[in-house]
């Protein structure tokens, strides 16, 4: 086992452990923290693949922006025990059924996937910021512009919902 693989396994254990923590912890704030841990481990994986820009964007956008938003939502909620909505038995049952179906679908998809046997070359430079920018602004410039329209619609949506009064 070379150092590369060792780091890979350590990061994988952290990522999966963090993901389990997200769904198993009872305190929503702890869930958010576990999710942040998972993002960091995934960023570590990106760095192992030499996708440096993706790694740091994952931290800035997911761990630094979206998770702050999640924390806000949790702080916005009334977290006192006595007012926590009681989930009905029917809802719990529906949750189990839908979750189980999703699991089956994932399992089926996983069974039919052809796992690639070509190793991903860590010395590739396609994930570096300059190469990425070169591709993004020449070959993929149209999707890039489309994404700005997506942002625009998201902004309108946020303001419409947030300023409803």
């Amino acid at each position: 086992m070379n150092p590369h693989q060792l780091v890979f396994w350590i990061l994988s254990v952290i990522a999966i452990g963090g993901a389990l923590g997200v769904i198993l912890s009872r305190n929503p704030v702890a869930s958010v923290l576990f999710l942040i841990v998972t993002f960091f481990a995934v960023s570590g994986h990106y760095i192992l693949l030499n996708a440096q820009f993706l790694a740091i964007v994952n931290i800035i956008v997911y761990a630094g922006a979206i998770m702050v938003l999640f924390l806000y939502v949790i702080m916005l909620m009334n977290l006192n025990g006595d007012v926590e909505p009681q989930k009905s038995k029917l809802l719990q049952f529906a949750g189990i059924i839908s979750g189980g179906i999703l699991f089956l679908v994932l399992l089926a998809a996983f069974k039919t996937t052809q796992l690639s046997t070509t190793p991903i070359n860590a010395s590739t430079s396609i994930g570096l910021i300059s190469e990425l920018g070169q591709v993004l602004f020449t070959r993929f410039v149209f999707p890039f512009e489309i994404s700005s329209i997506l942002f625009l619609s998201a902004m309108v949506g946020a303001v419409v919902i947030g300023k409803k009064d």
Binding site: N2, P3, H4, I47, L48, N50, Q52, F53, V57, I60, V61, G64, A65, I66, V68, L69, Y72, V73, M75, L76, M77, N78, L79, N80, A122, S123, S125, L128, I129, S130, L132, G133, Q134, L136, F137, T138, V141, F144, E145, S147, S148, I149, F151, L152, A154, M155, V156, A158, V159, G162, K163
Partner: protein, 130 residues
Amino acid sequence: MLSVLLNSPANTTINYLPIVIQLVVAIGFVAFMMSVTHLLGPKRRTSDKLANFESGIESVGNARQPMAIKYFLVAILFVLFDVEVIFFYPYAVNFKALGKEGFLAVLMFVAFFLVGFIYIRKRGALDWEE
């Protein structure tokens, strides 16, 4: 394998090893200080001392309360703008190579950005005075 990679330029995975070392050192420092200070100070706990501070008045309820929606709106807009700003970084690095075409593409992107920004301002999402 590691020693071969050590003298490579600043674009390989191995450049991140020192950051991991620094993280470990920093975690060790913080954990050490936290435990030392936990052991050193006196411990004389009284119920008054362990109550939350509210300017000396008996506190009403607790701080698990909803907050103004404005903060929430700012956080949502921040996420959107943050992703847009991230897009500028690969452009800035390649700015000279991309030339006029690249600049016009970014100009269009910024135009959409500004349309959204002006809409937000006009709807008063950024007003705090009211």
